[in-house]
Symmetry: C2
Subunit: 141 residues, 2 copies
């Protein structure tokens, strides 16, 4: 379970600098339990740094994604991508088709090693995505 400082430390090890904007963006992602869109991150960052631009948010999210510290989620929805800080535990989400809110699934239902083994011949598996779609308590009427 990584802390905000540990995340920033990992960035530093990769040669990235520590800036107030970057700290704030990581902090926002850290605090929020659920995946956020770039726009949502931007709005929250602006509460502290009103001058921060949306491009900076995008650039930092991309950078965090490349560093493997953030996962980007955009399967099967035409909406904007959502980003989540990976604090360590591997998991997936239940996504509400109505309000877009997402809930964490307690565990990964997939035996990745088994799948990797099965396809080792033709494919090198790097990553996977799994999402459940449906309606949350307040949206199913």
């Amino acid at each position: 379970m990584l802390s905000v400082d540990e995340v920033l430390e990992q960035l530093k090890e990769r040669g990235y600098r520590r800036t107030p904007q970057r700290e704030c963006i990581v902090g926002i992602l850290w605090e929020s339990g659920v995946p956020l869109s770039a726009r949502e991150v931007h709005e929250r960052v602006r509460a502290t740094f009103p001058h921060v631009s949306l491009d900076t948010v995008y650039r930092n999210l991309e950078l965090l994604r490349e560093a493997g510290l953030v996962s980007q989620i955009n399967l099967q929805s035409r909406e904007s991508a959502r980003f989540e800080l990976l604090k360590g535990e591997h998991h997936h989400h239940l996504v509400c088709l109505e309000c877009g809110e997402s809930v964490c699934l307690p565990a990964c239902p997939v035996d990745l090693h088994e799948l990797e083994r099965r396809h080792a011949g033709e494919f090198t598996v790097i990553n996977h995505a799994f999402e459940l779609y449906g309606y949350c308590k307040s949206c199913r009427s």
Copy 2:
């Protein structure tokens, strides 16, 4: 396992008309084993109907998706969506991060009923998405 005609028949039952463009788009999706982007569908349709517009392709793909006859796959990257005709069998894909090509997984690795049961209280599960990402034989060097 649905045929092209059966797909068009299902559309008719929902009040949609049978047009040459629509027939052709369904035919293209049918022939292609792999998911295609809207642009790819457009290019292939144009081989037969040079005048067809990209918007028509999008409108028909959306219509087929709404009718539950096509599944939309958004790769974990920011590339364009891909669309696949559902001929009946439920399955998922292995997607190459380099060339974008996808391979069908033989089976669904998820016990959906189990998951539905587990979350029945707070969530009504409608659908799910699962994708493996990695590198295919020719792209991993």
